[in-house]
Amino acid sequence: MSPWDLFVSVFVNTLLWIYSLLSDIPGAFGLAIILFTILIRIVTWPLNASQLKSAKAMQELQNDKEWLAIQKKYAKDREKLAQEQLRIYKERGINPFSSCLPMLIQLPIIFALYQSIMRSLADTPLALLELTRSIGFFLDVGALIPLDSRFLWMDLGRPEGIPLPFHISWLPNGFPTLAIIVALTTYLQTKLTTPPTANPSDQSAMMAGMMNIYLPLLLGWFAMTFPSGLAVYFITTNLLGIIQYAMMGRIHWRALLPGGARKAATSKKH
């Protein structure tokens, strides 16, 4: 067994263990994914906290006098501005991309979770055979298999879609309700948790702006194409992210209003 398979196997067994506790409840596998996501969110809390810390440092920099001065001084010389920004980053020990690093570290977790959902659902004989062999001794294979993949109106092993009375070739599974919810919650999460900036032409502000557009579209597309179990994970993790930030008082509600981000940053500055 490769190290990656071993890593995924830990995920599979945890997910199935949660499922086994809930197996008498209708929609147990969907609930297991939600509980598993909460568990992962708790485990990855230090990473999220580090991400938040980096974001806070970046936010404070946006309101720093020296930072604002160089923005003004080199407004027409972008190359020089970039050099000066880098100098300040270096002097203050800030990595502008360090807020992305925890996300990158979380990628294997997302991939492993996806694989654990797919492996658990085992929709071919080979997949089922491999699943029976990766289940730990503490779980009763005979009672556990097969998993009930139904959750609400969805089959978690298939892409979600509500059937339409007419055929649209690019919507083979019907109306993608879950994909829209994924895109919406991703947008809300990135918008609400991105620190406001006084200078929208700043690199990090531009990057955050692009992230606000591209990430919801990308995850929405995943939700439309991939098994809906993954979409349930995306929605849960987005909502948990918003709740977590709200509990820490770091939600930027004003960012939802047109021009709200700039107003929030300006009011903070004064």
Binding site: T124, L126, A143, P227
Partner: protein
Amino acid sequence: MKLARLTLFLFLGLITLGLSACGGAPPAATWPGLAADQEAAYLANGAAIYAVRLSDGKALWTFSSRSGSTFYANPAFTQDGQLLIGSAGNDYALFRLDPKASDDLRVTWTFNEARDYWLASPLVISNLVYAPNADGKLYIFDLSLPGDGAEKLLATVELGGKLWSQPVTDGERLYVAALNHQLHIVDLATYAVKTIDLGGALAGSPAIADGLLYLGSFASDIIAIRVADGSVAWTVPAKSRIWGGPLVNDGKLYLGDLDGNFYVIDVADGTVLTSFQANGAIIASPILVQNDILFVTEQGAIYSLRPGETTPVSLEKVDGRLYTTPVAVGDTVLVAPFRSESALLVALDRDGRVLWSFTPQ
């Protein structure tokens, strides 16, 4: 700005690549299906079905659908010698193929209204076809009805659970094993359904003989059920989970488990007459070759139990894993190794000597 944009795209690209590489919405992948008539073997192996001449192992034709089908079920034969095979691709199509026709006329009928993979081989009785689908439904067709597609659909019976194995019949009722631990008993006259929970997933086809139905389960039980009333006649605990269906011959039941134990059981009372430890998991069902009982293991070994013997002899070991139930035509035994580097299909004689092997060009 350029750096920021580049980083963002790299990050998003990494997510896309990562999830896509992890599978995306992949076509099903599993071991091949196999069937044979007197002239040819038909191997359902992913995107293609290969027809291979039995006499020398030469390819006769290859079929691939335009709808992205993948084929893994054992093909079934209709009364007029055509092939029935369903797709385990996202098209969920069931095809009837004419092996004698030219390539452009090969498909003689298609049904597209199932909602999941076709992994079970349909059961054909005269013009009627009983086709279980992984969507939990039994589709019943009358091939003598005019028209195409669903026009031949006689009835759809909602059974429940994923249906991966070929049904069996006693002439009055149809027995369909499901992964959700249930054995469905369908009255052939009324389509009324009776269901029995057997406590473990049922992946293999049951066997039926002399008023008893036999099958093994993931709960490591070997069970005999009285077809008259659906009551359990006897249960024998196996040492491990059972995948493949059993074989009944001459008052004895033969089957293997996932730990490689092969059992010979007295059908009358469930007494284990003998058991044998093979070299690997037994997933395929045993078959009868003349009077010998032949079974294969995941490790590629082929065993034969001769009449009167209590210990099987190892005949041959092929490259690859043997999950597919072998097929015998006269003295010729066909095996379809999975993940083999040398052949997709191997023909052997009764003593295990390789007659030919087939690899597509």
